[in-house]
Structure formats: structure tokens, C-alpha cells
Amino acid sequence: MSAQAEHPRHKLNELVHSPVRFSIMAALAKAESLDFKDLRDAIQVSDSVLSKQLSILEKAEFVKIKKSFAGKFPRTSASLTGTGRNVWAAHLQSLREIAGG
């Protein structure tokens, strides 16, 4: 008697599944890197919310944050790490499996 296959919802990544972090991952997935302001405008959250959620994703090593200066102005950009891209791809795959029935 074979074991019943695990439902794909169990494979969803809890860290990525929260709405704001899901949006951050979705926006960064199609970009090599995104400016903080462009990312904030794309997912329509406040600076503080974005900062907090980016820190969580950075701690999980899904996102890389780069800080630099353009003249006197600080510039922050974010990009997905290799791990982040793999986790995102697996998360989308699980969603597709759920969507498929």
C-alpha cells in the first residue's frame, strides 16, 4: 500500500506566502535589481513596511540589499539571491499544482 502524496499546499514557503513578502518576491523575480523607491511604488506599501519585510527576506538570504551613494543621496536597491530565486520558483510551482486541481 503506497503512502498518499502530500498536498502541494504543504510545499508552500510560509515566509514567502505573506502578502507583502509575496509581492516583494514577485516584483524582484523579473528584475536583476530594483531601486527601493521603484519597489515601494510597484507593491504600494510604506517605506517602513517595505524596510521591515526586506530585512526579514534578507535575513532568510532570499534577498540581497545593496546600499550606495549617488552624490550625497543614499541609494538602496534590492535583488533576489540564487536561493531566493529557487525558493520563489518552487513556491510558484506549488501554486501551479494547486491551481491545476
Binding site: A27, L28, A29, K30, A31, E32, D38, I98, A99
Partner: protein, 140 residues
Amino acid sequence: MSAAEARELLARADSLGASSINAAAWPVAVMFTSLAIMGSLLMIGMHIVLVGGYGAALLACSVGAWGAITASVWPMFQRSTKVGFTKRFLTSLLGYFALYVVALVVGAYFFRDGNLWFYIPAAIALAAIGLAAAFRELRA
């Protein structure tokens, strides 16, 4: 989670991914279009000035060097880019300037007194590679 919710999330991911990088390609497209215009104008200008004997090769070299420096420094300030931007940008930029240098050297060496049969195709080739690079970034 239901299948409908999963489909909704997938659609949202697609839409967010596309909207986040919507504007990212335009600055690069504008830059390569400018290079296309600059290179082609210079090729025609080079022909005209060579006929008049004003050392146009020097002009084209200095403008080309200026263009190469500007084009290399400018992207360092661009923070939002599409996936694969670095590779696409470098190959397009190197392709453009390699053709520019070849056109310049061949023109200065073999067609010192001007020759529209060389300079017009060179102008078209530079315009074509610049515009191709611009469209390549827009469609990526």
C-alpha cells in the same frame, strides 16, 4: 487554499513582476538610440570633413571615446534593471563600439578621401546595431 486562490496569486505575481520593471528598459533604450544617431551622423560627418581635409578621424575618435566613457559610467547609477541586464548591456555595448572602431579604422585607413559607398553602409550598420540593442532591452 483553493485552486481559484492559487490562480489569483499566480496572476498577481505575473502582474507585479511585469509592472515593477515597466519603466526600467526606457533609459537604456534611449541611450542606445542616442548612440545609433551619434554614430551614424559621425560617419556621414566624417565623409564630409575628410573631403575637406579637416582631420575628421580625430573628431570621431574623441567623440567615440566620450560616448564610450559616458555609456559605461551611466548604468552604474541605474538601480532598477530587468533580469539579465548586465549581460545584455555589456554585449550590446561591446558590439556597438567594436563596430564603431572597425568602421573608424577602415574609414581612416582605406577611405581617407571619403567614399560614400563605405560611409553610408557604415552609418546604416551603426544605426542598426544601436536600434537593435534598444529593442533588445525593451523586449527583454
